[in-house]
Symmetry: D3
Subunit: 70 residues, 6 copies
């Protein structure tokens, strides 16, 4: 599927922390940055995410803010 | 300010496209990925964003989705 | 209240999964689609959501992405 | 790609309104509901969206709120 | 309608800037804070928003980040 | 850091409810409004949030919807 989601970056799962309803997933991307994704527990299990899983990080452009040094 | 926003990645502005209300900003981050941010026109002008501006990309974890290859 | 939220679709709650902080709610809408909503546990209890509850699904247009087949 | 985005509903584009930076796209889904998506103008053009295009509406669960009648 | 949206604050519209697809609306709330809302142009016209309009600002809890002084 | 996030309001933490993955934080702002923020548990601990913590509430303009009385 080709998506309007402008931001798609590949990475590797470093950890998955599951709660009852949600899960927090850490993903390392190029440059050594580690991103955090909060998804439903169901998604994490549905995608069988675990340390080492290869994933694509997906972020809509309207959810990306910017900052500049003072 | 230390922020709850888990995802903070530095990058360089590649382009700024301004509409009346909004602006679309392209930012290159490590690994050569180019991200897109949709912010208000006012923000883009307030932060004086232009090609070459050094920025920090800010994304809340709840706005980060994940995908795995079929 | 008339709202700027462009996307308002009625549906019926199929399940509510509660964590400490959040809850995942499944809602069936027309056409048999089952949507998932992640809200605070407090909201789920405040709205007394349970299987069979009639609800309106509310989504802001800036949170709606699109995909097309490759 | 299998995605954590829990909400994926097929539909048909009814209209595309383009601004400089953003575009508003109307999509009819099952049950006759017409949803609105705000994406970047670039995405709308990249996906070649026009009236009649078959699309998948994509919404993250954390972006879905709920309401109940008073 | 009773909503899961935890954050509902009343305010007065200070300005409306309309683009083709989107609109940026400034709203003054208690304490003199002026908030900015980016909605579709259609919403702004549908709600007949203009300077002086009384509105309720609506924000989902998952869209609220926090910062603390360094 | 100067940010594109248009909405920045100071407040005081009233409570922090932690789950495994997420945390719900109540913040009182001017005018006595109490806002709710859903962030990762890690963020809540990283920022050492507890009752009485002084914080800045951060919301992107694209996440702010509006309503008007019927």
């Amino acid at each position: 599927m080709k998506m309007s989601l402008r931001n798609q970056v590949t990475g590797t799962v470093k950890s998955v922390t599951k709660g009852e309803a949600m899960a927090a997933v850490k993903v390392e991307i190029a440059g050594g940055h580690v991103l955090t994704s909060s998804i439903t527990r169901e998604s994490a299990e549905d995608l069988q995410l675990r340390e080492g899983s290869e994933v694509t990080v997906l972020v809509k452009s309207t959810d990306v803010a910017l900052g500049v040094a003072d």
